[in-house]
Symmetry: C2
Subunit: 156 residues, 2 copies
């Protein structure tokens, strides 16, 4: 069990976190895609080479899942996270190829307490994931709910 | 190999497709989450029961991946799909629990040819995934690129 370092109050708008790196192999790309996204360019090297991507490339959902892995391991694990209601503006900007090393940056954009759940606050964040060449492969914005260190009091 | 039934021209705005169902088990929920989203309520039944979700529940990314699986198996596999640049407005509306059966509906919202790639058209779609109780668990809107049956001609 980890101890909680980040409650809602600790997540300041404008704060930026480097959430580490992960390298993805051809085997992992194919294993994910065979289960969830068996389009030819995600499961077969030759089909990837013939496609507009020019090589086997990861399912966009695999890229998102790898971003989540880094977010949990390097941030949410130490936080009072209570899940997410959703995302906006998810962009798959470049293909992710076998052997790519992806590095994730997380920026807190906005923060407000929930009115109906006085023990919880909402945070809007941006994620940006880049490959080893400095090219951004994934951008997204989304919401996270976090328990408050000091719950609010009902409004009069 | 499948034959292509749907080129860009065949994807009419307003058309609705039922893309089938999938049932998710506790084992699958934990296996996905251990790899990509090891928050306590996604990997451990007891932690799930103690959480605001009241039970073990699937990572939102797992729910998305299951929606993708149904989309590929029951639609994209028969199409001239060329990948997706991204999504808007992804909403995880209800938790997905072990044993839930999720049914996916896909609606084409808009369609336009790409100006710079005359062999390709862009389609904006909405996905809605509901559980066996008729509750919507996932909503999203996103873009897909499809090869055209009849490529355009350059503008004068």
């Amino acid at each position: 069990m980890s101890t909680i370092k980040y409650y809602w109050e600790d997540l300041e708008p404008g704060s930026v976190r480097e959430l580490g790196s992960v390298t993805v192999s051809a085997e992992e790309i194919k294993e994910f895609a065979e289960q969830f996204d068996p389009q030819p360019f995600h499961v077969d090297e030759a089909a990837g080479r013939r496609s507009i991507f020019g090589n086997l490339c990861a399912s966009g959902w695999h890229t998102c899942a790898l971003a989540m892995k880094l977010t949990v391991e390097n941030f949410l694990r130490d936080s009072a996270s209570m899940g997410s209601p959703g995302l906006e503006n998810l962009r798959w900007l470049k293909p992710v190829y076998p052997g790519d090393t992806l590095t994730l940056k997380h920026t807190i954009l906005e923060s407000r307490p929930l009115r109906k759940r006085l023990d919880t606050g909402l945070v809007r964040s941006a994620w940006e994931m880049a490959n080893q060449n400095g090219e951004t492969v994934l951008q997204m914005e989304g919401y996270g709910m976090f328990r408050r260190r000091h719950p609010g009091t009902p409004e009069a």
